[in-house]
């Protein structure tokens, strides 16, 4: 239903369609990028610091690996963890928010206060400490970020469900004898989903940047995995002499975040207008 709305509204205009197509393209690259990569991203294939050429479109990095291949693999290492964080945190947040809204009373109070507590904690710093102690690794990073990311979704889910719960059609369903589980799944949760989808789509860019930051700090997948943030950090010292090596992955991070942001914004606008 939501997908249908999205496709119908997004594709109708160029401005809405392009970011969505961009997102699909990125996902496609993440899935199939390695097929197009001209070389193994972990293998030295030529002399280090080669300029971009027909043979190596983006040149070679400081070790002599094909930079284009590393970036194509790097998109996968960025994109899938981002989707994992969004999926995980939106699911947990929705569940917590829904339980709070459905249960009411003391449970609602406690869950809401707990969410607020999690929201005021300096999440990035705690996540940094968590990853540093668990050891660098993509899934450690996903777990550490997710722990602090879900309360925003919980709050949205809770607010939306509480708002819809007072509407006439929900009251009518309740009076007609619809049971609580069915009422929740059929009437309340679907009503909260559009807001959650908008929040998630806008969050993609944030998560990309946070993951890239962690990877820049060396807390992502262990080297020599071709993570975009780590590639930028490692070659930063070459900025003045071989600028394309740190800039290429940085530009890709920018394009990913920018496209995701545009798409999120487009989705929000369409959702608001429908």
């Amino acid at each position: 239903m939501i997908l249908r709305v999205l496709l119908r509204t997004e594709l109708r205009t160029k401005s809405g369609a392009l970011p969505l197509i961009g997102l699909l393209f990125i996902t496609l690259l993440a899935v199939a990028g390695p097929i197009f990569a001209p070389a193994n991203p972990l293998l030295r294939v030529d002399t280090p610091y080669l300029d971009p050429s027909f043979q190596h479109w983006l040149g070679t990095d400081e070790v002599g690996r094909d930079l284009l291949s590393r970036i194509l693999y790097g998109i996968r290492l960025t994109w899938f963890p981002v989707l994992a964080v969004i999926a995980l945190t939106s699911a947990i947040g929705t569940l917590v928010g829904a339980v709070a809204a459905a249960a009411g009373g003391l449970v609602e109070l406690l869950l809401n206060r707990f969410c607020e507590l999690m929201m005021v904690i300096p999440a990035t710093l705690i996540a940094l400490a968590a990853v540093a102690s668990l050891g660098p690794g993509t899934w450690h990073l996903v777990a550490a970020i997710s722990v602090f990311w879900w309360p925003w979704y919980a709050r949205i889910a809770h607010t939306e469900i509480r708002r819809v719960a007072t509407r006439a059609h929900v009251e009518a369903a309740r009076l007609a004898g619809v049971g609580r589980p069915r009422l929740f799944l059929r009437y309340l949760l679907p009503a909260a989903l559009p807001s959650l989808v908008v929040a998630a789509s806008l969050d993609v860019a944030n998560v990309i940047l946070v993951l890239a930051m962690f990877s820049f700090l060396g807390l992502g997948a262990p080297a020599p995995a071709p993570e975009l943030g780590a590639m930028t950090a490692q070659s930063l010292v070459s900025l003045t002499t071989h600028g394309w090596i740190p800039l290429s992955p940085a530009i890709v991070i920018f394009i990913l975040a920018f496209t995701a942001n545009l798409a999120g914004d487009g989705i929000r606008q369409r959702m608001e207008s429908t």
């Binding site: 193994n40 972990l42 293998l43 610091y49 070790v63 010292v237």
Partner: protein
Amino acid sequence: MKSTVALRAGIAALALVAGKLPVCAETVLRVAYQKDISTFDPDNAFPLYGIDALHVIYQGLVQYQPGTTELTGWLAERWSVSEDGLTYRFRLHDNVRFHDGRALTASDVLAYFRRRKRPDLALSYFLNGVADMKAPDARTFVIRLTAPDPAFLDRLASAWGPKVVGPGALVDHAGSDHAETWLNEHEDGTGPYRITQINRGQRYVLSRNEDYWGKRPYFDRIQIEIVPQMAQQMLMLNKGDLDLIQNGYPFEQLRHLPSGLRLLVYDDLGLEMAYVNRSKRLRDPTLRRAVLTALNPAGWLDDAFFGFATPAHSLYPKAMIAAREPVDFPSDLAAARAIVAAAPPVTLEIGYGDQERAVQQRAAELLASALERIGIHATLRSYPLDQALLFAEDLQRAPDLYLAQNYPDAAHPATQTGVFFSSTAPLNFFGYKNPHIDQLIDAADRVSDRAERDRRYLVISQQLFADTAFIPLADIRDVIVYRQGLTGLDPRPALPWVVDYESIRRE
């Protein structure tokens, strides 16, 4: 009258402003470290950053001459060794003063050496072979050893060797911990500079000791900035905010050095080496041989160090022992691939030292790529030295290989074997034990004839390599990048990354 008053007021104002201005840049040497200085206690830490500062704050009995591994006197004017090689008698200079103004006497040296021997201090092992010490008169200090030790004077001249701390610390501020706490941020040395500013993690300033007993150094102040990012250090050097970068300048960028910068290249005692954890996947000697084949430095050395390193000739740096031929690595890549293909999938973790992290990471990435070529996947992780020192406690959690540029205590090969290879060596990270090797080391350590000594140590190197416990990879040259006009940098091969602040000057 009015104009005179105005002139006087103007002069006074100028004088006030001048007082607020920083000291003229011509008399300040500005350097940077990538890591903070842990302590100014010369007996209780193993710093690589800060040795040059300690070297001009404190002084030992003997030191290495610039550019060589030959010894010369420092606080000791001269010395003699008894026929049996057990007694060392040092005659001290007579006009030496500590920074608090007190004159140095042999009793002060004795008190200091007694402190240095305290087993709770990290560097007390330098004096493990000392049986007795005494100060028969104000200028004579005598050390008696339990057994002859041809490396003893080298130990005294080591970058981390004993350097005399005065009674201002050991008596006045001894506290309950023999001045350990006080010396973290204070000093009482005899050197040409004294600490005048400490901003932890940011900046240290050493100011010239105007009462120094030796030749007056050129610079009024040495300003040490803590700048972890090499890229930032390079920008500062280009802008003129730094005078030199002592280590870590990316090798590949030395070809693109901006005008106005100069290079000083010299051989030090650093040796790029891989330690092998033989308790995990690499317990299989066949697999170890395959790994050796892949890691052959001939295949990657130039891409890592751009001509500033040569393949190692042994487990000793060439400035220590000049072996004739490079280490003979196996070269049959097809055989190595076949070994790996026949084994269950192999993933190895390569740890690397965080000193000169960028250089080590590059070398580690090249090793990972070389291993990938024979079908071994490798992951990399940086380990600070204090974590690496704990590897032996849990070998199953430790990396499979540990890559680091290692610096022995001093120029004598006994300090290389004693620090890295013997069963009790403090930097034998994976706890390699081989009683036969220990016997060979003990025997070599007692030989004073240089040719015979070197021959024996090379035999030990060959046996350790055959056992694949330690893999010698590269002799890396040290490179100092400095602004044109500086002279007298006077590095010493046995002192890692040390520029002599006492002799350096600006033309």
